[in-house]
Each structure stands twice: as structure tokens, then as C-alpha cells.
């Protein structure tokens, strides 16, 4: 069985300057893959490349189907949801409207049931239901961004630094919810995260990027034990 997401020789860049120099990586069906690396290593660009927001070469397959070079909206319709840096919520619209937009492409009858599931996972969003998304706290906005993405019922969820700019307690709360999502929903996750500790705890596979190249790859448990990674990224 092929992996849920498979990238081979993936390059991408902005204008003439390439940022990624031929990446090979995978996300298993229902698995969590973490991309680690310093600022500027190309983590965010990797996510943008997967969902067609930058020009790429190389191969990208979602469930065996090639998605390289396709438009972002078409990739979304194939079941790939992205929570980009800056979250990608609709600040001017209400929480409810953000929910509805998350399920925009769906035609099935279970949208309401999924709303209820999101309320259970993110009870605070229910309290803020008719509020403008721009008025939510940073943590609530991140929750809304994740809920918005899950409402697409994606096969694969891309998460760009869900802990960015949030207080430690809120980060704990969001990662606790993500563990639940992982157990209860069966969605595959490709996670970019500065906080390597948290990321490796959640992930089953991990890659370390340096200046657009993968320098270490393997099961998350192994990377946790890796001397170089521990010193540079885990800090003990």
C-alpha cells in the first residue's frame, strides 16, 4: 500500500532562488510526520509546495495520485487541508461562518455532526460561535484554524507551527487536542514545529531539514535519541 503522502525529489522556490533542493519524505495513512529544522530551513516552503502555493518540480502523490502542479483549490478538494502560518482563518467573518467555509466543498449530510464533534474538541469555539474571528485570542484562533481545516474531512492535514506565539499552557492544550484528533479521526498529519520536544512526542516519523535538504530521517523515537538533534533542537 502506498503512503498517504509521498514526495520524491521535491524542489521549490520563490522566483529564481530555489529553497528546497530535492526532498524525499512520506506521511503514513493516519500517521503523524514532523518536519524539524531551524528558521529558514524550508519547512514552511515544504508545506506550501505540497498544497500548490509555490512552484515546484519533482513528484508529490496524495494517496497514489499525483498532485504536483495542481491548483491549491483542487488539491484542497482532493482532501488536503492546510493550516498555514498566519493560520488562514477569515478574521472578518464569524466563527460560525469560518466553520461553514471549512466544510464548503462537502456535499454529504454529516457536516452538522462534524460541527458537533468540533464543539466537543474545542468547547471554547462554541462559546464564541457568533463572534468575529479576529476578536478571538491567539489560542482560540489557532483552534479555529485547526477546526476549519478538519471540517474539510481531509485525508491529510498540514499544520504550520501550531504553537507559534502562544503561551505554554495554551500550547499544551492544543497538543492535547491534537493527540485526540490523531486517535479519533484517523487523519494523517504533516507537522512543522519549532518545539521539537512536542513534535517528536506526537509524531511517529520525523525529518530534519537544513537549508532545504533533509539531513536526518527516521522514526520519531529514534530522532529523539539522536545526539545531534538532542543538542541542537531538544536542548538537553
Amino acid at each position: 500500500m502506498p503512503a498517504l503522502l509521498e514526495a520524491k525529489g521535491l524542489t521549490a522556490g520563490y522566483g529564481a532562488a530555489p529553497v528546497l533542493h530535492g526532498l524525499d519524505f512520506e506521511v503514513e495513512e493516519g500517521g503523524v510526520t514532523a518536519l524539524l529544522g531551524a528558521n529558514g530551513a524550508g519547512k514552511t516552503t515544504t508545506l506550501r509546495a505540497v498544497c500548490g502555493m509555490v512552484r515546484t518540480t519533482g513528484e508529490i502523490r496524495l494517496g497514489g495520485q499525483s498532485i504536483a502542479g495542481r491548483a491549491t483549490e483542487d488539491i484542497a478538494r482532493l482532501g488536503l487541508a492546510h493550516v498555514p502560518d498566519g493560520r488562514g482563518t477569515f478574521m472578518e467573518l464569524t466563527v460560525e461562518e469560518n466553520f461553514r467555509l471549512g466544510a464548503y466543498v462537502r456535499r454529504d449530510r454529516e457536516v452538522q455532526a462534524d460541527f458537533e464533534r468540533m464543539w466537543e474538541w474545542f468547547p471554547r469555539l462554541r462559546q464564541r460561535w457568533r463572534q468575529q474571528a479576529g476578536t478571538l485570542s491567539g489560542g482560540e484562533q489557532q483552534m479555529l484554524a485547526i477546526a476549519r481545516a478538519l471540517l474539510l474531512r481531509p485525508r491529510l492535514l498540514l499544520l504550520d507551527e501550531p504553537s507559534f506565539g502562544l503561551a505554554p499552557l495554551i500550547v499544551q492544550e492544543i497538543f492535547a487536542i491534537m493527540r485526540r484528533i490523531r486517535e479519533e479521526s484517523g487523519v494523517g498529519i504533516l507537522l512543522v514545529e519549532q518545539n521539537a520536544n512536542l513534535a517528536l512526542e506526537l509524531a511517529d516519523r520525523a525529518y530534519l531539514l537544513e537549508t532545504g535538504r533533509i539531513v536526518v530521517a527516521g522514526p520519531a523515537a529514534e530522532l529523539r535519541e539522536d545526539e545531534a538533534i538532542r543538542r541542537s533542537y531538544l536542548g538537553y
Binding site: C51, M53, A71, T72, E73, A76, R77, A81, H82, P84, G88, T89, F90, M91, E92, L93, E97, R100, L101, G102, Y104, V105, Q132, G134, T135, L136, S137, G138, Q141, R148, A149, L152
Partner: protein, 290 residues
Amino acid sequence: MDGLAHQIVAGIATGGIYAAVSLALVMIYQATHHVNFAQGEMATLSTFIAWSMIEAGIPYWVAFFATIAISFVIGAAVERLLMRPVQNAPVLTHVGVFIGLLLIVGNATGWIFGYTTKLFPTPFESDKPLLGGLVSAHELGSTAVTLAVLSLVYLFFRHTRLGLAMRAAAYNPRSARLVGIRVGWMLALGWGLAAAIGAVAGMMVAPVVFLDPTMMLGILLYAFAGALLGGIDNPSGAVIGGFAVGVLENLAGAYVVGTELKLTVALAIIIGVLVVKPSGLFGRVVMSRV
């Protein structure tokens, strides 16, 4: 006293026209962040299309709805063919396209239909005085039509899935793509709707100001004043602004500056709003935490 009441009612009637054109301006502004200067010329062309159908013996309401449909297609085609190739170009390019469009549509209309002033029929005729002679049948009817159009547009944007998707595409195209919305088509749809609304405004105002290729020039200025007064980024504000400008213009024309200087009122409002409160009366200040 009767005179004053009549001026106010007549102001509301023309205000409805301005409100419709203001709304069309705001819709394009929300999607592209620029004002479509050619909005008026496009509406004039639509009105001429309606006129030629009516001249050819087609019943008024058939011509009315056919014109709306044709205008929708023209508007969407303009977005697809002219705006899309320059969508990532700098602001001045867009302004250039808008002005080019204004000149081309305006002069093509004159070329095809001629510059002589034409009578445009009203579907609203009545022998009996309405509201004690306060209002003409056309004023009442055109106000009802514009109000109906404005309510339909409101319901569409507030309560339909497509309306929500269009708003999302206008506010945040990048995120809209991530939820699977085809942003390019939403823009084309917005242009089509704006052109259709402009067509209604043109057909409602033509019996009053008479039909010629420059008919909408003044209307567009009033509508622009209305949109700015209400807040260029707020559709309901633009509608209220349009009505307010209609009443103000009529009162100022009757009691203050005289009919000759009415247009000055619109320009004064534009400059006044830009100087005192650029966001307009109802321009929403979007809150965001960073």
C-alpha cells in the same frame, strides 16, 4: 411643507438608484480593492440594450430581465478577459484598465446607438395621485425595485453558501483557496452581479434623466459619494450612504445651492468624507489581535 416632503420623497427615489450603483461599486471594491470607474458606462450600455429590445417590441419586463442576464454575462466576461490577465499587476495598471474600459464602453455605446437623447419608458404608470400627490408612480415603483434588488443581494450574501464563499474570496483569497473555493470564478461572479445591479439602476433612472451615452456620469459621482459616505468597504453602509446622498442632493438643490450646482454637493461630500472620516460613517474597523 408639502414642497419639503416632496423633495424628501423624490430624494429617496433617486437615492435608491445611487444606493444600487454604490453597492455595485463597493462589491467590486471589496473584491479588487479598486473602484471600477467604468461602472456607470457599463450600466448605460445595459440600459441601451434594454431600450433596443423595447423598441423592437419586446414587452418591458421581458426586456428588463433579459437585460439583467446579458449584463451579468458582460460583467463576468470583463473580469475574465480584461481583469484576470492583470490581477497581479500594480494598482496603476488596474486604474488604467478601468479608465480604458470607461472610454471604450462609453464611446462604443455612442457609436452604436448615437448621441441623441432618447426617451426610456417606465413600467409604472398611474392616473391616480399617489400618497396625496406626493410621489409619482415611477418614483414609487423604482424605489420598490431598487429595494427589492438590495434585499435580494443582502439575502444572497448573508444566507447562501455561494454568497459566503464570495465574501471569503474577497476578504482572504489565499485562505479561500485552502478551503477549496475557486477564487477566480468568485471574482467573475462578483463582476457579473455588479453589472446586473448597475443595469437595474440604469433602467430605473433612464425615464427620469433620459437616455444618452453620458447618462450615468453624474449618477456615478453621486453613487461614489454615497459609497464613501457609508464606508467603501461596507455594502450596507454604501446603500444607506446612497439614500442619504439622494435626499441631501435634492434638498440642497431645492433650498440651498439651486439645481445648477447640485453635482457640487456630491463632490463636496466626497472631499468632506475623505478629509474628515476616510473610513466613512459605517466603515468597519476590523479588529485583529497579533
